[in-house]
């Protein structure tokens, strides 16, 4: 059984208009009908551009936002219905690491207070035991346990992110939502934190939902990946299938837009450059939300019918009327899975 199941999750934010007497003026559909499941001990990557709803999805799972509709199941239990002690149990099991290592640590608390806070909230251990645990955790994330009484502003970005990881680990959670955990870090430090997350996963059997806009990082850390566009999952699959044979034209153009650090490859690469900007989520395009920028859109179908997520290979689905594989990679593809899958799926 999957540890986390997200079913038809939808989140709308009301848009307020007027100054004196505010009234509702429509809503932003930040997440629309999103479904996926995450197996225990694996990493699910959520990737997409700003405004695609990946962070909102994470915050709904964390119960920081109230989902408008849909279902979230953790360990078989209905997360959205949890109250009181049950909710506390959920919070103990599901933790979060945020993007901004500057904003995610309270500047007026010492490292000891920050990392011990989960223990204090859940009433675990005496003060001395808590202190010992904090020191252990700091050691686990690669910080000097002697720095326990320092303040966040005395640390660099990468070190602060480690403090955030230590806090998330304090309650021995099973699932961690990582919301852009390395986006604010320099590449050399980013690699340190990615490696740390991987080691911790192995050591503690953690399950991750890894939210990021960097396709390379998501590919590196994820077992399965979902690509989001304007609140919807447009393609979902295991990392190899999705990156080697992207079917959705959005995934294809996204992958082709990322410059690779290899000058020769970069010179040879065919790029798909999308026209225009991402439309406003207040008034998303009808039909397929991507049709306004899609290089292969056909009318009227793409502007009228919302494409369903259809399985195009085992465990690999795309939401496009004309989904067609396009191997972007110029490098060798591993044997066996290297064949290109057949004709475009019928719309």
């Amino acid at each position: 059984m999957a540890l986390l199941e997200v079913n038809k999750l939808t989140k709308h934010f009301p848009v307020q208009q007027g100054i004196l007497l505010s009234r509702l003026g429509g809503h932003v559909s930040a997440v629309d009908d999103v479904s996926f499941s995450v197996e225990k001990g694996t990493t699910m990557g959520l990737v997409g551009e700003s405004g695609c709803g990946k962070s909102t999805t994470g915050r709904c799972i964390l119960r920081l936002y109230r989902a408008t509709s849909g279902e979230i199941r953790y360990d078989g239990r209905d997360v959205l219905a949890l109250r009181g002690a049950d909710l506390k149990w959920y919070r103990r099991n599901v933790q979060v690491i945020f993007q901004d290592p500057y904003a995610s640590l309270n500047p007026r608390m010492t490292i000891r207070e920050i990392v011990a806070e989960p223990l204090v909230i859940h009433g675990i251990g005496t003060r001395e035991e808590q202190k010992k645990k904090v020191q252990e955790l700091l050691e686990v994330v690669g910080l000097n346990p002697e720095h326990i009484s320092r303040y966040p502003h005395e640390f660099s970005g990468g070190q602060r992110q480690r403090i955030g990881v230590a806090r998330a680990l304090a309650l021995n959670p099973k699932l961690i939502i990582c919301d852009e955990p390395v986006s604010a870090l320099d590449v050399s430090i980013q690699a340190q934190v990615v490696n740390l997350l991987e080691e911790l996963q192995k050591e503690f059997g953690l399950t991750y939902v890894f939210i990021a806009h960097d396709l390379s990082v998501v590919r590196h850390i994820s077992d399965r990946v979902a690509v989001m566009y304007l609140g919807k999952i447009v393609e979902i699959g295991d990392w190899r299938g999705l990156y080697d044979r992207p079917h959705h034209p959005y995934t294809q153009s996204l992958l082709s837009a990322v410059p690779v650090p290899d000058p020769v490859k970069q010179r040879e690469r065919q790029r798909i450059i999308l026209e225009g900007d991402v439309p406003s989520p207040i008034d998303p395009p009808t039909g397929c939300r991507f049709h306004t920028r899609c290089p292969i859109a056909q009318f009227p179908i793409c502007a009228e019918e919302v494409p369903e997520l259809k399985e195009i290979a085992p465990g690999h689905s795309a939401a496009c009327h004309f989904a067609e594989p396009q191997p972007i990679k110029t490098q060798h593809v591993h044997g066996g899975s290297g064949e290109v899958i057949g004709a475009p799926a019928e719309g």
């Binding site: 904003a103 309270n106 500047p107 720095h147 320092r150 303040y151 005395e154």
Partner: protein, 322 residues
């Protein structure tokens, strides 16, 4: 040339940002190499680098010490600030500054210096007490508005707008007319009139702190609302109140002086800088020093509080960068 200026302004802002980043980075990456300092100690360190703020602090301390210890040294050195020796009035009145009376004497032969020192007692008392009232009401109202939002937010903030819409001094005069003129009623009136600004500052401060990810992080840990409030939001939201409150003391001193000048505040013979000015007005031509000293006292003391507030603002600005 205005256009040109505007263009270069853009550039310089960019530069400032870039440089700040660089500078901040240089300090920040040292990380654990840096000696441990609490944020408050950091604040003090930065405050001490601000010369104007230090000057303000020194001046306020001098005024405070003089006012508090006045009973010990003023009567023997300068004479009684209130009681008059009726037999000697004509001989002593309106003397220009001298060794015996450094600030001169007033219309009734009392030592102006003694009266200025006792006036400081009134000013500081009214300033501190009035601001305390504003801060208590303002914090409460601002916190309610920010936390509960919705209807209570609308009601409190519109009420604050109503307060802002009235001419301040007129409102104060109306209230004192209602309560009767006295020192107590002056600080009550000023205090009550001051809450809307504090409430506004506090509300917006809370709202911006609330957006920080550490608040979300605490929520995701299962922290209760009171805990989030007391541990995460309030400690980070009070800094602007400290700044604004300090500056407000200056404002309250000024208001007290204005009210006393108009005869609505501290009543003679009790000295206050405001009523001293009022009394000196008619003597302005023959004895300008009577007006000079209380005027200077108001100016320097109010300025000192404002400078202190300004310095505190820079010093408390954690920004988490440095």
């Amino acid at each position: 040339m205005a256009d040109q200026d505007h263009r270069h302004k853009i550039d310089l802002e960019q530069v400032a940002e870039h440089v700040e980043e660089q500078v901040a980075y240089g300090l920040e990456v040292q990380g654990p190499v840096r000696p441990t300092r609490t944020l408050w100690r950091d604040t003090v360190r930065r405050l001490r680098k601000n010369k104007l703020a230090v000057a303000g602090l020194i001046w306020v301390s001098i005024v405070l010490v003089m006012a508090v210890t006045a009973d010990l040294w003023v009567p023997p050195l300068l004479g009684d600030p209130i009681a008059l020796d009726t037999t000697q009035v004509s001989a002593r009145r309106l003397q220009p500054p001298s060794w015996e009376h450094p600030f001169g004497t007033d219309n009734l032969g009392r030592d102006v210096a003694a009266r200025v020192v006792y006036g400081a007692r009134v000013s500081l008392r009214v300033g501190v007490l009035a601001v305390s009232i504003s801060v208590v009401i303002g914090l409460l109202m601002g916190a309610i508005a920010a936390f509960y939002g919705g209807l209570s937010d609308t009601i409190i903030m519109r009420l604050a707008d109503v307060f802002f819409a009235f001419p301040y001094i007129l409102f104060a005069i109306a209230m004192i007319a209602l309560l009767g003129p006295s020192e107590t009623n002056v600080f009550i009136a000023i205090g009550i009139l001051g809450w809307p600004s504090i409430a506004r500052v506090f509300r917006s401060s809370i709202l911006s702190v609330k957006e920080n990810e550490y608040v979300d992080a605490a929520r995701a840990l299962g922290a209760s609302d009171p805990r989030i409030l007391s541990r995460h939001i309030l400690p980070n939201a009070v800094a602007p109140i400290i700044v604004y409150g300090t500056m407000s003391i200056g404002g309250a001193i000024l208001s007290e002086a204005a009210l006393s000048f108009l005869g609505m505040g501290v009543q003679p013979p009790q000295p206050s800088w405001g009523n001293m000015l009022a009394e000196a007005r008619s003597m302005m031509v023959v004895a300008p020093w009577i007006m000079l000293w209380p005027g200077l006292a108001i100016l320097t003391t109010v300025l000192a509080f404002v400078l202190m507030g300004d310095g505190l603002r820079d010093a408390l600005d954690v920004k988490m960068k440095e």
